[in-house]
Symmetry: C2
Subunit: 424 residues, 2 copies
């Protein structure tokens, strides 16, 4: 059926008529809907059984464009195609770690999916110092499985390129290209930053070595088609509870560098860590929770690397390097060394992309709630200055980083003495 | 019209009816055709005006598949689409350096193009020690212009990705992936080599460090979408005469690493250089011509690099790094350093890909005429052993190579003393 934007009334008729209806709701159920999206990018409806609101689903429909930065971006409804395609691929590769898809309709640019009623976006509970005992295991499985099974390490050359051709996603890529790697570091009208860090922002924008390194990371983002990356995997795209982790909002998905996804997760954990200098005045509670967050950084990387390499060894059927290639005396060692170098490259890329994303949050179009929720601008600036130093070093020093402990080490070095300053 | 393979009779009717007819031949001309292709991949017809054979054109039509290595490769007629698309793009970016296209017909998988009656495939005249005074200028313009104008240094992100999506070329990519980077270095039934270099071939296949480096080059070939590369740019894909250079056979074109094209040219010049130990028994004539060939290696790279960087400076409108990004005190220096590093990466990539291609010619499915035309297997082995050493070093030592003189230096080091051995 031809595209038309739904409203709270028409969405109920749409769902009642759709073939997934019986999989979600009991036969003949009366439904009600409410729109809960922010209205910028998508309409998001929650549809419930009036008699039993536990029976519910989410319907997400793309609007034809997004107004952002005072400029109209040509974000066509195609982006819903990318979100849906990625969700379907994720459901195939990592069922249970993303919302289930009940139905999708390309003409209408919509998808009907599982309503995650008992999950929350990860940012807020991290600010509230909650802990998620299964997060490391689950998020590392998500990235390891999706990235491995869509890479040339697993797929045939033909299958990889066919999948890649379905994920050429130029408009959404451009948003990240501009807003992660370019505009924050030069004059651009949409940039925003805390006036208290004006000097640091100016320093970044005039730091030739850093900008050169950021341009190199951008070249990687634009040209390195390594695996199907989510490409917006911050803690606002992750929903959690005590038992469960789900990745959402996959409209940016395309074939890009693996390190961009890992960098997003690690960087967001570090920024949350820094936010606690303001959010958690009690030094002991703060230290404990910050230590927990750095352990998450270590173990998300560590578990990702362990699982990714295990998948590789156990499913080594991609065409990049077929098994018989290593069939010679010493071949096992050569293959092990190849894997070691591959993982070391991923870590350096993770640092570079994570650092870039940390910096852009300080001086680009969007900050993150962990920091913007700090109302005192001086307090906020403490965290932001640290983030600028840590992000800059992750980018600039990436070539020498050889373990996740080196990334954490930079956080520890840069935050040394902050406790005393706050106490004094 | 539906696809049907043409023959020498039906091709004349086809050409007479096509709209380009009048652009090629005088009105009412009687035409004759002969098939000159090797019949494996494509039909190639030369169509002439009976009354004036100088009026002629080439019609190239893809056959539905290719039988190679005893196995049927799914080389669909799509490859003619890639060849034609690339030819059209080349005609736009470097008119005069490729055959003109008169007409193309996707349904029929054919293209009608300029007949290069006065050019010859470059291999043979290089073996005959001919010189081509305009080759360096022309081939360097071809690669510099095509690679620059299709890269993120010139195009918008949207335009680059749109063009890239038209050149997802998995079947032809697979041929290079398998036959350049993988199969030659392991047991594979289609491999062929001179029995005199059996020991050296076995050494390569058991050299863990080398195979690891080759696997890294392959990963780059499979994932690094830098520019629209020709991807088969050896001296058999270049036609020359005293005044003119033309690039042909572009069916492998896709978005890949720039160094693969440069590597192909340089590597073929080096292999031709080595072939003269057999082809040119006179030491003085040999030395002079080998020096000429190494000067071609130096100046093809040098002119490519100079022109590419000049195009970049003068047409810096790609979205990778927009001009205003460098607008800060010291920004010019940072931009210059960025370009310097970019070009240095290209040189290292050129060495790695060139080295891989040199090796595969010694032990894979296809050698090159420069060497196979040496009938004495011992003489041929002299060149081949040198090629294996040079190719291995280009691949293994690429990280330390910082100028084309370093690549030439490896050739000079490895060939030192060969003169004396031959004389002795």
């Amino acid at each position: 059926m031809a595209y038309r934007a739904l409203d709270e009334r028409s969405v109920v008729d749409y769902v009642r008529a759709c073939s997934a209806m019986e999989a979600i709701f009991e036969t003949g159920a009366a439904l009600r809907a409410r729109e809960v999206g922010d209205g910028n990018l998508n309409l998001v409806f929650i549809i419930e059984n009036v008699a039993d609101p536990e029976q519910s689903a989410v319907l997400k429909q793309a609007l034809p464009y997004l107004r952002v930065a005072g400029e109209s971006w040509p974000l066509t409804r195609e982006r819903m195609r990318f979100e849906t395609q990625a969700l379907l691929k994720y459901n195939e590769l990592t069922p249970g770690l993303v919302p289930r898809v009940y139905e999708h309709d390309q003409e209408m640019s919509l998808v009907i999916m599982e309503h995650l009623r008992k999950h929350q976006i990860m940012r807020k509970p991290l600010v509230a110092r909650e802990r998620f005992p299964r997060f490391v295991d689950q998020i590392s499985s998500f990235v390891a499985r999706v990235l491995f099974f869509t890479s040339d390490l697993y797929l045939s050359g033909l299958a990889k390129k066919t999948l890649m051709s379905e994920f050429i996603n130029p408009h959404l890529c451009k948003i990240q290209e501009d807003f992660v790697f370019t505009n924050p570091y030069m004059e651009s009208p949409e940039n925003q930053w805390n006036p208290r860090i004006d000097a640091q922002v100016r320093e970044v924008r005039a730091n030739g070595a850093l900008k050169l390194a950021l341009a190199e990371m951008k070249a990687g983002y634009m040209t390195h088609a390594q695996a199907l990356i989510h490409s917006d995997l911050h803690t606002g795209s992750i929903m959690v509870n005590e038992r469960d982790t789900r990745v959402i909002d996959s409209e940016f998905a395309f074939y890009g560098p693996i390190g961009f996804d890992l960098g997003a997760i690690l960087e967001n954990l570090v920024l949350n860590h820094l936010s606690h200098y303001a959010h958690t005045p009690d030094p002991r509670a703060r230290r404990e929770y910050q230590a927990y967050l750095l352990d998450l950084v270590r173990s998300v990387w560590g578990e990702f690397a362990r699982k990714f390499e295990t998948l590789w060894i156990e499913n080594n059927r991609g065409e990049l390097v077929p098994e018989p290639y290593w069939d010679f005396p010493g071949g096992d060692d050569a293959f092990a060394e190849y894997r070691r170098r591959y993982m070391a490259d991923l870590l350096r890329d993770t640092a570079g992309h994570g650092g870039a994303k940390m910096l852009r949050r300080m001086m680009g179009i969007v900050s993150i709630w962990d920091l913007t929720s700090i109302e005192d601008l001086d307090q906020r600036a403490v965290a932001e200055r640290l983030a600028i130093r840590i992000g800059s070093r992750w980018v600039l020093e990436r070539a020498r980083l050889s373990s996740v402990e080196d990334l954490v080490g930079i956080v520890l070095e840069e935050t040394r003495g902050v406790e005393e300053d706050l106490a004094g």
